[in-house]
Symmetry: C2
DNA sequence: AATAGTTTTTAGCCATGGCTAAATTGTATC
DNA sequence: GATACAATTTAGCCATGGCTAAAAACTATT
């Protein structure tokens, strides 16, 4: 169980503690107020359980908790969350690139592995991948000292018709959704030509690898793109 | 948590359950009577805890338990144990070959990973390694349907002086011991020339990669060798 | 076969971290 | 400001799986 969330933390954290911290981090970066209900729904436990755990995390100085207020990570809590997130995303990329695990499956696998890899293994994986910056979904991989690079792009749904874009990030981890996108050829870095956008948030007509597809607006909203370099 | 110890098992097993089954399997194959004290000492918990867990495993039909008797794995229990052992050894080899993790470190890393990899990942690892038969210590990797190949060789301590052997297995997972052997050049498949064996179980004089070393008898007893092919 | 010594089991404690149900607090409306 | 409704917290239950200490059961010796 040799973890190394450094100095500050005395007793080792369980997978569960780590999952809560990661959840809080993700919800925070989404800009949401991390209320008990938001957190408990995200993490899939009852509100009572979430309160319980949050109190414990507060005792360990990993979060700041005031009754009836949104939770917030402390600097230490954020460091732990980022370490786990780094594990997660490194693992996703590793599984995808080194073992050809499809991009729609890496998330759930990494979800378990992220809690049990040592620092040494984390380092070895990062080195073998050439210290990558993003995972197979385009999500940024936090650096070892907790920096998260800003990812560029804007939603395909808010893009100009008639232009070609490159897919740089997919804001979803849902297996089915990712599998569907994969079938359409919409992998990371795929080029998408936006033919037209139906009005009133209607579907979009896109061309990927020579094939034309209709894409629901809510799906397109999850696709972060940048103008294709060829343009 | 999607495991697939097939049909027979209803609720998923914890890492702990799996560790117990693996321990029982290993002790059984050592030819030992798996009594409560042997088991509890091996697994590092008190005898009372071991009794407790063994009873639970018995309820799940994974072991046969009669008070005051040695425990024995049921066919299902053995299948689970072998699956975990397969995970463990595949992971050891994978970590060593693909990520250059030293052979003295792979054991503890695999010890945690073995419980959380999916069947799909297990398969991908096995495929990427070309369906290997042994791990970095020469321990056999159980096949997917639970077959364990017999490993050849005899202890270096019971070998003939003046001959050259090839190291095919090391019967130890101790980090320090393996690190020491590694420094001596005694990796898997290394060639060892046995110069002489001091009487009364004294140390042996061996030559590895052009260098001469004295080797304690108890250390040599852990080294399984076969005559070098060149001979 | 009785006793001594060891091994194993039982009984019962503890912490963890889910849960439900009830109480409380906060918020919004009249 | 009272009242209704939602969100949160508290209280207390449960299972898990360690633990210690005590009881029970085996084994060996005289």
């Amino acid at each position: 169980m040799a973890k190394n969330y450094s100095s500050e933390i005395s007793n080792p954290l369980s997978s569960n503690h780590e999952d809560y911290l990661k959840a809080i981090y993700i919800l925070e970066t989404r800009g949401e107020q991390v209320t008990n209900s938001v957190l408990s729904e995200y993490i899939g436990y009852t509100p009572a359980s979430a309160t319980n755990m949050v109190k414990k995390l507060a005792q360990m100085d990993l979060v700041i908790y005031r009754p009836h207020q949104a939770v917030a990570l402390t600097p230490t809590g954020r460091r732990v969350a980022l370490e786990i997130l780094r594990h997660h995303r490194l693992l996703e990329l590793f599984l995808h690139k080194t073992l050809d695990i499809p991009w729609d499956s890496v998330h759930e696998e990494a979800e378990r592995l992220e809690h049990v890899i040592s620092e040494a293994l984390e380092d070895a994986i990062a080195a073998s991948l050439g210290y990558p910056k993003v995972d197979p979904h385009g999500d940024p991989i936090p650096s070892k000292n907790g920096e998260v690079s800003h990812t560029p792009g804007h939603p395909l749904s808010q893009s100009e018709a008639g232009r070609t874009y490159r897919l740089v990030r997919v804001l979803s981890q849902e297996k089915e959704r990712l599998a569907y996108l994969g079938e359409l050829g919409l992998h990371l870095n795929a080029e998408v030509h936006l033919r037209e956008q139906a009005p009133f948030d209607g579907p979009m007509l896109v061309e990927v690898a020579g094939e034309e597809h209709a894409l629901a607006a809510d799906m397109a909203a999850l696709l972060q793109v940048v103008p294709a370099s060829a343009e």
